[in-house]
């Protein structure tokens, strides 16, 4: 019986992790945590959360609650590292996340709108986006690949982000 109970509990942990792992990691990265720090904090968040089970919530509320725990853990780590000045910046970032991605669908509508908007770009625009954000090339290298200078690439990427923003807002309206 004990073994079965333990297995059930592990299944529940696996289900919770499966559902919220990617979103939580992305959130911590957005708040400025480095990749390895984000990995550690995601683990600590789940451990802290599961050690103190929350009241029963729907998945969106659970995700919000996990983000709160994760943000507190990150804040604690920043304070330990003596980086108090980052807290304000972090609050602003957290607010931006909640505004655009922290809704009932955990940001899926935003992401779906973005994916749809990406398909509306011209091939050249799509290429610029892929080089900059998919291959993580510096802006200068993107300019070089696109046959334009650094300033041209900066302008192109800025305009594309504006186009995407308008498109996303239109689709979400």
């Amino acid at each position: 019986v004990s073994s079965t109970a333990l297995q059930t509990s592990q299944d529940a942990i696996a289900a919770l992790v499966q559902q919220h792992h990617a979103g939580l990691r992305s959130y911590l990265r957005w708040l400025g945590a480095a990749g390895d720090v984000a990995d550690d904090l995601v683990q600590d968040t789940f451990v802290a959360a599961l050690a103190r089970p929350p009241v029963e919530r729907d998945p969106a509320a659970t995700a919000a609650w996990l983000r709160t725990v994760a943000r507190h853990l990150l804040l604690r780590q920043l304070r330990t590292a003596g980086r108090r000045g980052r807290a304000v910046e972090l609050d602003e970032a957290a607010a931006a996340w909640e505004r655009h991605l922290g809704g009932a669908d955990d940001g899926e509508a935003f992401r779906a709108a973005l994916r749809a908007c990406l398909t509306e770009l011209t091939p050249r625009q799509g290429e610029a986006m892929r080089l900059r954000y998919g291959d993580d090339l510096p802006v200068a290298a993107v300019g070089e690949r696109m046959g334009i200078g650094l300033a041209g690439a900066e302008t192109l990427l800025r305009r594309l982000r504006a186009v995407l923003r308008a498109c996303i807002e239109r689709r979400l309206a």
Partner: protein, 526 residues
């Protein structure tokens, strides 16, 4: 919300969408969390904190709604303790090591590991750990690892750990080398060395030192991790993204995470080059440029077949190129080949879409690749081309047709399966044809031809090796190399077989009798 913050958020989501990072695998994370919780439960049983205190610590104020859950949690702890009590009593250390049951708990000296723990072997002499079932481990000075006696798992963080398994298998993995694990069964002994071996420079008496701090200091060493596995006795199993591999006694394997990162960077660079259209080869310069591009493409294919991370890294760019339909004919053909070397269904689907637009761009290998995975239009075309084929090439086409669901091709496999391995010296292609037919049979659910091929090959290798003739040794080497792909892969594919065989079995220099026998033994054990 300022446009600036939205812009940054958009950039972040774009990176998530266009280049999703590879976080810790979810299953592994869940296991770690379960282990950490088990450790907490065991620790908290002694000093069970009141629910109100726990709530105050968590959020700064008591929350009565936690009470039912805290009671349930306490009941859970009791269940966990009952379960833990029923288990063997952990591992005993030959001398004190630093132990911590959670990542944020300071290390304390101890000589017994009962619960999942971080262990750090300080001092100048190795530490021996022994379990009640006879399991024995030895940790070199400076070694840090996570060990769970109940789950029979260990995760190496730094240093060298030797484990002699008894009873149920143990599983060892290591930080920083990706999804790799070694299964150590009863009677097997392995030594795992994670380099850099140097323990982080720190003061082991620091009362605030925690496993998290230790990990952070290990990260600060910033050297690429290499895991070397040496099998001292018995047979170990190595689990990687490419599937399981059997490591017999005396064999060793090195997993180099640094090499993987380098390969991914190189592959990205190469893909950028091969996706470009080159002008026709009208003069010497353009001919040289074409030849150079071909070499780069072959290098890229080799990287893709040897490093699964390369395939994953290239996937978004290839998918975008194929979906966009803007590549020229030759770059498109190269992208299609890369897509067909990828087992991801989405990439196969993109390749089939490319077929629908330009079927004339698909050569024999692409047709075989599509056919063996059941794409009917390519199957029809491949069947038509059978009429113009001669020799054992026909064997591979029949094998692809049969594997892809063409029932009429299945009876033709029989004559290729009857090829004698001993005849490989006269015509190696007949041996190849038997491999193709056996692979197709296996895909259709009949594993007997593969088993028979394995037995025949291992026996024949012994005959060739016993002759001592250098030519026979070279023949044994060549057939073993083929066997290592066809018999060693989880799902061998019939397209581009030469490239796949070469990628699966790197060159080892001049073959000698001992190494050939060891390889044959390893092949027999798979």
């Amino acid at each position: 919300m300022s446009a600036d913050v939205f812009d940054r958020l958009l950039e972040h989501v774009l990176r998530d969408e266009l280049a999703p990072a590879a976080p810790l695998p979810t299953a592994e994370l869940a296991t770690r969390i379960a282990a950490a919780l088990a450790g907490r439960s065991a620790r908290r049983a002694a000093v069970l904190t009141s629910p109100a205190t726990a709530a105050r610590r968590a959020g700064g104020r008591a929350r009565r709604r936690w009470l039912p859950y805290a009671i349930a949690g306490a009941a859970g702890v009791a269940v966990a303790l009952t379960w833990l009590a029923a288990q063997p009593s952990g591992l005993t250390c030959s001398r004190a090591v630093l132990l911590a049951t959670t990542a944020d708990q300071p290390f304390t000296a101890g000589t017994h590991v009962a619960a999942p723990s971080f262990a750090w072997c300080i001092g100048d002499v190795p530490v021996e750990l022994t379990g009640p079932d006879g399991t024995a481990a030895s940790a070199a000075p400076g070694t840090a690892f996570v060990i769970d006696p109940q789950r029979r798992s260990a995760r190496l963080l730094a240093g060298a750990l030797e484990l002699r398994g008894r009873a149920a298998p143990w599983r060892i993995d290591a930080d920083g080398v990706g999804e790799v694990a070694i299964v150590v069964a009863d009677g097997c002994a392995v030594r795992c060395i994670l380099t850099p071996e140097a323990s982080p420079p720190t003061d082991p008496t620091d009362p605030t030192m925690t496993p998290n701090a230790l990990r952070a200091r290990l990260r600060d060493l910033a050297a690429p991790a290499t895991l070397t596995v040496l099998v001292l006795a018995g047979t170990a199993e190595l689990l990687t993204a490419q599937g399981p591999a059997v490591l017999p006694a005396g064999s060793s394997r090195t997993i180099d995470a640094g090499a993987e990162r380098t390969a991914v960077a190189r592959a990205r660079e190469l893909y950028e080059q091969v996706r470009k259209e080159l002008p026709p080869a009208n003069d010497e310069a353009s001919t040289v440029a074409r030849k150079d591009l071909d070499e780069r493409f072959h290098e890229l294919i080799g990287l893709a077949l040897q490093q699964p991370a390369v395939v994953t890294a290239l996937r978004p760019a290839i998918a975008q190129d194929l979906a966009g339909g803007r590549l020229g004919a030759e770059p498109c053909a190269r992208a299609v080949q890369l897509a067909l070397l990828d087992e991801e269904p989405r990439m196969f689907s993109l390749a089939t879409r490319a077929w629908e637009q330009h079927p004339e761009r698909f050569g024999l290998e692409e047709q075989i690749a599509l056919t063996e995975r059941g794409f009917a239009p390519a199957r029809g075309k491949l069947r038509e081309s059978l009429a113009q084929m001669r020799g054992v090439q026909v064997g591979r086409v029949y094998a692809a047709l049969a594997a892809g669901g063409d029932e009429s091709a299945r009876p033709a496999l029989g004559r290729f399966l009857r090829a004698d391995v001993a005849d490989a010296g006269r015509d190696i292609q007949r041996f190849d044809a038997r491999c193709y037919a056996a692979a197709a049979s296996q895909q259709l659910g009949d594993a007997a031809p593969m088993r028979e091929l394995r037995t025949a090959l291992v026996a024949q290798v012994e005959t060739w090796v016993a002759s001592g003739d250098p030519q026979q040794l070279a023949l044994a080497d060549s057939c073993l190399q083929r066997g290592e792909y066809w018999l060693g892969s989880q799902q061998p594919r019939l397209s581009w077989p030469d490239v796949r065989v070469r990628a699966a079995s790197p060159q080892r220099g001049t073959p000698d009798a001992a190494s050939l026998r060891a390889r044959a033994t390893a092949l027999a054990a798979k």
